[in-house]
């Protein structure tokens, strides 16, 4: 009896623990979106090196850049729940929640422009596609991010 209660308690704590971890992992979209954007920045660093000719063109490396953008554009719109409007030193602009349609459309355009880069075969094509897709950075930040 005691043993059953003990096992149940351990299991309960375990399940609760797993549940808690899952909640914690999902409940901090601010950190997650920040890390996602850091990944986008790192990819842009790699892409800029290729575009400037500092690193020789390599199709696999080029596609890796566009894949980071494509993944981020799919993931990011879901990381702005109402519960993460403020806090965590976020630089998200209130306009994200005032204009959800525009915000999602900006990521849809980012995704389209990133997809256009997946097939680039040389440095010239890369420069064009990279130039187009990275224009999205400034236009989106112009409206939806504030500086702190």
């Amino acid at each position: 009896m005691i043993r059953t209660a003990f096992v149940a308690a351990v299991l309960g704590v375990g399940v609760f623990g797993i549940g808690l971890t899952a909640v914690v992992a999902q409940s901090d979209p601010t950190t997650e979106r920040r890390n996602t954007m850091k990944g986008v920045g790192a990819a842009t660093r790699d892409g800029a090196a290729i575009a400037k000719g500092e690193v020789p063109f390599d199709a696999a490396k080029a596609q890796a850049v566009f894949k980071v953008y494509a993944d981020a554009s799919k993931k990011m719109p879901g990381l702005f729940p109402d519960s993460a409007k403020t806090g965590g030193d976020t630089t998200a602009s209130p306009k994200i929640w005032e204009d959800q349609a525009g915000f999602k459309a900006a990521f849809a355009k980012f995704e389209t422009d990133a997809a256009a880069g997946a097939a680039v075969a040389d440095v010239g094509g890369f420069r064009t596609a990279f130039g187009n897709v990275t224009k999205n950075c400034g236009t989106c930040h112009e409206t939806y991010r504030i500086k702190k």
């Binding site: 930040h141 112009e142 409206t143």
Partner: protein
């Protein structure tokens, strides 16, 4: 009784002197026309176009919610603690814009902040910076604006709270804070530095946003370029002095790169109003961006105001 009357008379006299003093001191005198205005050569439209981009004229004066940045119909609202400003129509429309202006009117507006009808402009229009442009440059800019499409319709008037809704008050503000001289090159510095200093402080009017302001809305010179609260919205404007947390560790080339592409050395992309600034400054020759960077690299390291 006699004493009371004397007191009243004194008060009335003082009020008259005070009002008269206010009236004289806040008179929208124009320091111009500068003598050379009648002898200027034919305007250089390319230089005018460059200055139009450097000055970011379209960022405030282009009609909002349409894509053509050269339609200068005005109407953008600028919220401030003094009330709401509405950018006016500066297209060459004869009735609603500046189509009837002469060069002298334009120079007066840009260099002294006085309108053709003799009224003070509010310094939300950054003539406090534009005044550094010499008459020749202003004439070029004016000629370029006159080549653009006339746009019909006037923007709404400003909606300011008392006493700021009295334009004469700006006259007092100018006495305290406005300096009216054009840019003077420093012969001890390089040509590029002087070009950069001119572009940053004059047409670029960078300090207008990248500085904090006092209770009367004037730039606090001790923390010029050290950033502060965003005057037109949420968040903060970054420090662009040589402070280690600002641009101290950036190279000249990295600053020029930001002004061209919007990317910082860590490949963050600038947003807010700076995104439009980058689109404008990207139209300048690379040498101009490097000159601006050279000037910024020469600024002292100033910590920004506390958050």
């Amino acid at each position: 009784m006699l004493r009371l009357r004397r007191l009243l008379v004194t008060l009335v006299l003082l009020a008259a002197v005070g009002f008269g003093g206010f009236y004289v001191l806040t008179d929208p005198r124009v320091v111009s026309p500068p003598p050379e205005i009648g002898t200027l050569p034919a305007p250089d439209l390319d230089n005018g176009k460059l200055l139009f981009a450097a000055g970011g004229c379209a960022s405030c004066h282009a009609t909002p919610n349409q894509d053509d940045k050269l339609r200068l119909g005005g109407g953008l609202t600028l919220a401030s603690e003094f009330g709401t400003f509405h950018a006016p129509n500066i297209s060459p429309h004869t009735r609603d814009g500046i189509g009837n202006w002469g060069v002298k009117d334009f120079v007066d507006a840009m260099a002294t902040g006085v309108s053709p009808s003799g009224q003070h402009y509010y310094p939300a229009f950054p003539y406090t910076s534009y005044r550094l442009m010499p008459p020749k440059a202003l004439a070029d800019l004016f000629a370029y604006i006159r080549t653009l499409a006339p746009v019909e319709g006037r923007a709404a008037g400003h909606d300011l709270r008392f006493p700021f809704n009295i334009r004469r008050v700006v006259g007092g503000w100018k006495l305290l804070f406005f300096e009216g001289a054009a840019f003077k090159p420093d012969p001890a510095r390089s040509e590029a530095w002087n070009r950069g200093a001119y572009l940053v402080n004059g047409p670029g009017h960078c300090a207008e946003c990248h500085s904090s302001r006092n209770a009367l809305g004037a730039i606090i010179q001790a923390t010029r370029f050290a950033g502060g609260p965003n005057p037109t919205g949420d968040g903060r404007v970054p420090n662009i002095t040589q402070h280690p947390d600002a641009l101290g560790k950036w190279s000249k080339e990295e600053i020029a790169e930001l002004l061209k592409t919007g990317f910082t050395p860590s490949f963050d992309s600038v947003g807010g109003e700076m995104a439009a600034v980058v689109r404008n400054i990207a139209q300048l020759p690379e040498a101009d961006r490097l000159a601006m960077a050279e000037y910024l690299k020469s600024l002292p390291a100033v910590p920004g105001p506390a958050k």
